[in-house]
């Protein structure tokens, strides 16, 4: 008789994931059983403490030493890059949640038709959708699992666990609800479409290798010859799914719409956390599973990187909406990061490129949360003032706020003395060392174009006269204020003294991805 042996699970290594998912489940129970007036008071400590606890466990794990083999029977790889990405995502998620925690970003009753009496009543009764906390926790849990997954099935499940709550969160904005609902629908339909591509790619690679384990796919590359059709089609479809999630051209169309329509704190979470998670997963698939095929995929990745940088930088110039402009800027940054993905080579070169990408992701994530936090504070009668013309002369009315925003924009542009400079420098340097000089030239030109539209906003804020009925700057809550303060501080410190975090990224990348 066959006996079933229990799988060996390294609970300590997986503890950050388990804590975040556990807190998500507890959050659902709070929604089910706690009275309405108590829910918020219970969610806030639960959410923030679980993220802080998970972060502490990541640090404990880092100090104890990086595991050298995948855990949970090879399903999840908790290696150096994973730990760095986990730490980054948890910090970004923590500060996004402080932003999300602010009142009046979310609709009082999502099921009520906009403008109906039902909605009016919910507003007067002061209802809040406290479901956003568990939803955000599940999304964050998915973000943690996505870059750590060591087989394609876990990766697919993580992709969905990350995306499904985000689709819902996008549709919950309190104001401009038509835009918000539209963005949720677009994100959902396109996201589901792209994950179907990811899954079909997984199926074909399973057919090729007989396993969905990344390491086994990698070993099958040398063993199975003559089935190239399956392999290449599978890898291409998988790539489509992953490139969609990072918003690389030509799969970038969802990004401006979703970033604009979603509640701004959710946009901040997506612009930072999702991008970091998706890049981690992309690197793992392309470097571990089909890393031996780099001769075949890197020309395509070159094209995608160039197209992404150019599309992001040029279309951003034409934008008149601040959130759309930041979305296109995020597309351009995805392109700059792809330059690092192409810089694959021997182990030493890979470690340099990986460290550069990790550092870039961390600094870009923090700066973009800071920028979106400022967007939440500039308000019109109908909500946040998104149109760029409304931002004219903001520097004369509230110089501190406009100064901070200008600083974040300069960090995006990669001006020296901001963290963005070292991020970009590290990635481009790694790409030059990897022999992608032409790509770096395109990257530098795209950065210059991007710098143009960042500076244009700064000029608009400081050298134009404010409109008489201009937007008001709301006094930030302690949450928003601390988010902006932390982001600005991190951007300065990492711009002047980046060495500790660079060292951390280098030591995380030194061990590369475990197989």
């Amino acid at each position: 008789m066959n006996t079933i042996t229990a799988p060996a699970i390294e609970y300590l290594q997986l503890a950050p994931l388990l804590i975040v998912f556990g807190a998500g489940i507890l959050g659902v129970l709070v929604e089910a059983f706690a009275p309405r007036y108590l829910r918020r008071a219970m969610h806030i400590p639960l959410t923030l403490l679980s993220l802080a606890g998970a972060f502490a466990l990541v640090i404990v794990q880092t100090i104890k030493g990086v595991p050298t083999k995948p855990s949970a029977m090879g399903a999840v790889a908790v290696d150096g890059p994973t730990l760095f990405i986990w730490g980054t995502i948890l910090v970004l998620a923590f500060i996004s949640l402080l932003l999300l925690n602010d009142e009046d970003h979310f609709v009082p009753a999502a099921s009520a038709v906009p403008g109906s009496a039902e909605e009016e009543r919910a507003l007067i009764e002061g209802n809040v959708h406290t479901e956003v906390y568990p939803l955000a926790l599940f999304a964050i849990g998915g973000m943690l699992l996505f870059p750590a997954s060591n087989d394609l099935l876990i990766m697919f499940v993580a992709l969905e666990v990350m995306s499904l709550p985000l689709y819902l969160l996008c549709g919950l904005a309190r104001r401009r609800r038509l835009l918000s609902q539209e963005s949720a629908m677009k994100y959902f339909l396109l996201g589901a479409f792209s994950s179907a591509f990811f899954l079909y790619g997984t199926a074909l690679l399973y057919g090729y290798a007989g396993s969905v384990d990344l390491a086994k796919i990698s070993t099958a590359l040398s063993a199975n010859v003559g089935q190239d059709a399956l392999l290449f089609t599978g890898a291409a479809l998988l790539g489509v799914g992953l490139l969609f999630k990072i918003g690389a051209a030509p799969f970038q169309a969802w990004k401006p719409d979703v970033y604009q329509g979603a509640p701004t704190p959710v946009t901040a979470l997506m612009a930072s956390g999702t991008l970091v998670a998706a890049f981690g997963a992309l690197l793992r698939v392309f470097w571990v599973a089909i890393g031996e095929l780099d001769w075949d995929w890197s020309p395509i990745m070159w094209g995608v990187a160039i197209l992404t940088m150019v599309v992001g930088a040029i279309l951003a110039i034409t934008q008149t909406d601040i959130k759309r402009m930041l979305a296109y800027s995020s597309i351009a940054h995805a392109g700059f990061l792809l330059v690092g993905v192409v810089a694959i080579g021997d182990a030493k070169q890979n470690a340099t490129a990986l460290a550069a990408i990790l550092f870039y992701l961390a600094v870009y994530g923090i700066a973009s949360i800071g920028a979106f936090a400022i967007v939440t504070m500039v308000r019109d009668a109908g909500g946040e003032a998104w149109h760029l013309s409304r931002w004219a002369g903001l520097g004369k009315r509230s110089p501190k706020l406009a100064g901070l925003f200008a600083f974040f924009l300069l960090a995006f542009a990669g001006i020296p003395l901001t963290s963005g400079f070292f991020g970009k420098y590290a990635v481009f340097q790694a790409a030059v060392a990897g022999g992608a000089v032409q790509l770096v030239v395109v990257g530098v030109v795209a950065s210059a174009v991007a710098a143009f539209f960042y500076v244009r906003v700064i000029v608009l804020m400081f050298f134009n006269d404010p409109a008489p009925d201009g937007p008001t700057v709301v006094l930030p809550s302690w949450g928003t204020a601390s988010v902006v303060g932390f982001a600005a501080l991190a951007t300065v410190v990492l711009g002047v003294f980046p060495q500790p975090v660079l060292d951390l990224a280098q030591s995380a990348a030194g061990s590369l991805f475990v197989r």
């Binding site: 499904l164 835009l179 539209e182 963005s183 949720a184 589901a192 179907a196 399973y206 007989g210 401006p256």
Partner: protein, 98 residues
Amino acid sequence: MTTHYLILSALLFAIGGIGVLIRRNAIVVFMCVELMLNACNLAFVTFARQHGNIEGQVIAFFVMIVAAAEVVVGLAIIVTIFRTRRSASVDDASLLKY
């Protein structure tokens, strides 16, 4: 022969993909996505048979669960937008552009 099943799976996937691109009703678009996921399932079980291991069959179960979860979220979003706009057409929802 497993080849026939693979061809059927590829056909279903293509029909689903084309449906997503040309159909206008959000519900139908979504059903086309589900068709694509089912095409993936067919491919998984076929390859499981071909390789003689059980992994692909197990994956098919996971995919079904994920598809079910996707239905819950997707229908919630589509129904909300239908209640607001009295239309489930993906062309009507066009406030966000350029």
